[in-house]
Amino acid sequence: MDRSEELNERVSTWVDSAELPIQPKRIELSTFEDALGQDGWQVTITLPHPIGSTWDQEALFKTRRAISNELDRITAELDAGLPGSTLVNATTDEALDDETALEDTPPTETEEL
């Protein structure tokens, strides 16, 4: 098991047992490069469809911060911290068709670019 898999498992286990304002269906850990060119940990949390047009901002903020703080705690414990930001991004796999953008179509030959 590599470092990323181990971290993913530890954070997933924590998320499953934590009482978060919004409970993610699953999480996925990866690295990304921030605007400063520094590598950081990134957690993508897949959420159930919100009640209403989007999730409650405060509840989502507290969920993201709790996961970010826990990941920072675990990476410090395992000496696996990265210099860049730790980010938690929310998405959903339950978006309705009416909430999902149409793909852009390339311009036709008669249209100016």
Binding site: F32, D34, A35, L36, Q42, H49, P50, S53, T54, W55, Q57, E58, L60, F61, R64, R65, S68, N69, D72, A76, P83, G84, S85, T86, L87, V88, N89, A90, T91, T92, A95, D97, D98, E99, T100, A101, L102, E103, D104
Partner: protein, 201 residues
């Protein structure tokens, strides 16, 4: 004539593009991308405007606009990262020496009240919105879902409101509010220094 860029106006544009009041019908991908980007810029301009008046409280609109340009996206990001470090339980010893004195300054500015929760909202939202804005503006793999875009607009709105609360705290005499403003002021100063300070155009 100087025309200030107001965060509230950009937030309205972002809301319209994200389709806050949209009825049935699929959103346009370009609208969602621009909504995320505009939400980020609302917060960016709010911070640079506060930063300009933090540096020169009696600045005219023209001079404030010029000073705002001293700020860079990466400079504010660095300062936001320092706020997140300062709010952690990490001891100063465990923080890299490059960041140690800045974290110490932020903690000192809070006068024992802890890093204000509203500043954490500003710093966290800036980090995550900047990343979302990069994906929206440059990434071909972008989540084209309205609920996600609306959450970006909601985050930017909350962060702009939090920054106003922090800014207005300077007019209040309560010790905790005064400490909150001092910590925000420290964040703005660090962002200017990390941006490289005064520069010509």
């Amino acid at each position: 004539m100087t025309r200030p860029i107001y965060a509230d106006t950009l937030l309205k544009t972002a809301s319209n593009l994200a389709g806050v009041k949209a009825g049935a019908g699929r959103p346009a991908l370009a609208d969602l991308r621009r909504a995320t980007s505009t939400a980020y810029y609302a917060l960016f301009h709010q911070i640079t405007r506060h930063g300009a008046y933090n540096f020169l409280p009696n600045a005219s609109e023209e001079v404030a606009a010029e000073i705002s340009r001293w700020y860079s996206h990466t400079g504010i990001l660095r300062s936001a990262q320092l706020v997140i470090k300062a709010q952690s339980n990490a001891s100063l010893k465990s923080i890299g020496k490059d960041d140690r004195s800045a974290v110490m300054a932020l903690r000192e500015a809070s006068q024992g009240h802890g890093i204000p929760s509203k500043l954490i909202v500003v710093a966290d939202s800036f980090q995550s919105l900047q990343n979302a804005r990069h994906r929206a503006d440059y990434d071909s793999i972008y989540d084209p879902f309205r609920p996600v875009t609306l959450s970006h607009v909601a985050d930017a709105t909350a962060a702009v409101k939090a920054s106003w609360w922090l800014w207005r705290s300077k007019e209040l005499v309560q010790v905790k509010r005064s400490a909150a403003h001092a910590t925000y002021s420290c964040f703005l100063s660090l962002a200017m220094m990390k941006s490289g300070g005064p520069k010509g155009r």
